[in-house]
């Protein structure tokens, strides 16, 4: 759970999905929260290039994330470092990896956000505590629900 993987099937070809992920125009349409605007979207999708995206929530708070592209292979693979900037809650640099696979209906997108809690977390994830943590969390939820 310190790394998070989500899979989506999208009815669009991989190159269209890839461009939605990497162009400012595309990012402006999905990166922000529901009903909140994307204020800044800058990308330079090449290895070593950087991105910067800033958006505003409905409560008025603004959030910005930046990072560096580590891997850009249109239309299959995209990875980049990720960091929240300018806010009080900076949990350090993490890693976003996206894989696009052509399937009959369009594209299967596999999204992974890892190293969510720096080095210590990454190591702990490799040691496999995520399952243990899940189990403990379920246990506590069960206690909560059964307590009067």
């Amino acid at each position: 759970m310190t790394s998070l993987t989500l899979v989506r099937r999208i009815k669009a070809r991989p190159s269209i999905v890839f461009d939605a992920l990497t162009t400012p125009e595309g990012i402006a349409c999905w990166w922000g929260p529901d009903d909140g605007p994307v204020l800044v979207a800058e990308t330079d999708p090449q290895v070593g290039g950087r991105f910067r995206v800033r958006f505003r929530m409905l409560d008025g708070s603004e959030h910005e994330s930046t990072g560096e592209y580590l891997e850009v292979v249109r239309p299959e693979r995209l990875s980049m470092t990720w960091r929240w900037t300018g806010g009080a809650e900076d949990p350090g640099e993490s890693l976003v990896e996206i894989r696009l696979r052509a399937v009959a209906e369009g594209t299967e997108l596999t999204f992974t956000h890892s190293r969510l809690r720096d080095e210590a977390t990454r190591r702990s994830h490799e040691e496999g505590w995520s399952g243990a943590l899940d189990k403990l969390a379920r246990h506590f939820l069960a206690i909560e629900q059964s307590s009067p």
Partner: protein, 117 residues
């Protein structure tokens, strides 16, 4: 006062170590245990166990209470929940965005097909 991020760092750092995870797992099963009972399954000396318990205590993951000469250790679930919530926030964040990305890409695909016709 320890801020939110420091607290999370302590929780995650505490959970890195396999001995500490084993202690937590045991406390989950048994509700409470004395320090000597906790130390028993491990091939480490009591002071080493005490150090692990200090780390877990600093992270707020356990409580220790002393009655006579026996110290009883119990699990404290709140910090674990806090750590899980933190991770779930990321999941929600991306889940929403990927849904929006999908509908955006699908509208672009529809446009591209229309142009070709």
């Amino acid at each position: 006062m320890v801020n939110y991020n420091e607290r999370l760092d302590r929780i995650f750092a505490a959970l890195v170590d396999p001995t500490r995870r084993a202690i937590l797992a045991r406390l989950e099963r048994e509700d409470s245990a004395s320090i000597s009972a906790l130390a028993q399954p491990f091939a480490i000396k009591l002071p080493a166990v005490m150090k692990h318990l200090d780390v877990l205590d600093d992270a707020g993951l356990i409580t220790r209470s002393k009655l006579g000469r026996t110290v009883t250790v119990r699990l404290r679930p709140e910090p674990m929940r806090e750590a899980m919530d933190w991770l779930r926030r990321y999941e929600r964040f991306w889940s929403k965005r990927l849904d929006r990305l999908a509908s955006y890409a699908e509208s672009k695909e529809a446009e591209a097909r229309k142009k070709r016709q």
